[in-house]
Symmetry: C2
Subunit: 292 residues, 2 copies
Amino acid sequence: MQLIDGKAVAEQVKQEIAAEVAQMTAQGKRAPHLAAILVGHDGGSETYVANKIKACAVCGFKSSLIRFEETVSEAELLAAIDRLNRDDEVDGFIVQLPLPKHIDEQKIVEAIDYRKDVDGFHPVNVGRACIGLPSFLSATPAGILELLRRYKIETAGKHVVIIGRSNIVGKPLANLLMRKDYPGNATVTVVHSYSTDIKEQCLSADIIVCALGRPHFLKEDMVKPGATVIDVGTTRVPSTQTKSGFKLTGDVDFDAVAPKCAYITPVPGGVGPMTIVSLMKNTLLAGAKAIY
Amino acid sequence: MQLIDGKAVAEQVKQEIAAEVAQMTAQGKRAPHLAAILVGHDGGSETYVANKIKACAVCGFKSSLIRFEETVSEAELLAAIDRLNRDDEVDGFIVQLPLPKHIDEQKIVEAIDYRKDVDGFHPVNVGRACIGLPSFLSATPAGILELLRRYKIETAGKHVVIIGRSNIVGKPLANLLMRKDYPGNATVTVVHSYSTDIKEQCLSADIIVCALGRPHFLKEDMVKPGATVIDVGTTRVPSTQTKSGFKLTGDVDFDAVAPKCAYITPVPGGVGPMTIVSLMKNTLLAGAKAIY
């Protein structure tokens, strides 16, 4: 069994991006610039945004943080998005989700110019990714592809079972893994809460991607020997062993499943660190005007 | 075994649309208006467009045909699209594909205002369909959903195997059948030319959708008793028995497979007639401004 070290891969990719940025600036170009809009003071969102800004520094990007109080109106937020859309000094930007209930998230996502939508949530980017055109890929699926690539895990003709059909992981990942490319060319099955055959599907899988958010859902008797297991779950489970009082827990019963696997991602330190790296890659592409 | 009569369903849906249009015009609204751009004189394209215009008449729609010679420039075509985009009297329009080689099809598709893109090929419509937002669905997947609906074929928790991963059938249909709706909530597997397990996947399927364009690919020994089989194939095979000298042939070895099925679509007269009906439904939605 080989552990897929997402933390190490993430560090390596950031160093590669930093080298590209150094080359850009040496050629007299300005460094890519990522802006982030943060509404309110939710602890999780604060941490995510802080980590994104830290990653920008490591990559040599310029970053800006635009804060609004919880009480911001939708119109104010839309005006801020409009300013960023028109600001030639901003290559890409994100609006950290979730947003307060009085704001229509989908409206906000669609107000972002798709050419600056480095989260890859705008319908144009979702649609282009689906039909195999260059686009900003959403962070988690792109991070999983990068892990498969770095560990040279074969996907062509393999059976991939994705547990979970969310718009940000399961569905886009399914589309990517069936395209004519590497990683891709896989037989792809998506199972979810309505599926009656999850165990059978998993037992036939060469690669299982667990993205349903139920701690320890994937048990040892659901995995074929030699399979690759990618764990997207990050549920906060109460714990007396940590300072924070909780422990990030994956969807895989890791201790039991790992010995059967060819490759497996741990939680934390697997897929998690790759999501911010995907955002950094998109920002680099946006800065280089490589897609639009 | 019950035959799924696409021709009869298509007629019924057109009558339902005509009744809605009659109601619209009785209320003083104008009838929906579909425009079609046809480039050159390809026999297949001529027939498709003629059938679409005929269907418009049955539905009570206004229709317009805009013709260009094979030699039309991309700029001229884009100018025509721009005019249709800005014409308030046109609710939806299509550009009949394929286009001559000197014209960039993707550029043409993306030039169409997505709010008038009744073919559902614009990335905004593809993306919105993918994440479950209201959109113009592309014709063949929408037609298949309508057949499942009319025959009340259960999809929730069923295993659907789709053979073929094209951008206009396999991929969008997979996304639709896994969404939280009816038809939907299925375990969905997509297999294709790289898959090594097509037979095993098909044998476990409750519903098989064949969309790869290889005559008689699906054999009797690949189908579980009681399965539903949807045949999207329409290959022209030379024939001495028809006036035209060819015969439309499906991807399913119909005579051998049919006796094992709960439901099966014939070719012709199955999925084929539903594709034009899907275009009519999109035009009705466009006319009623029901989506955008």
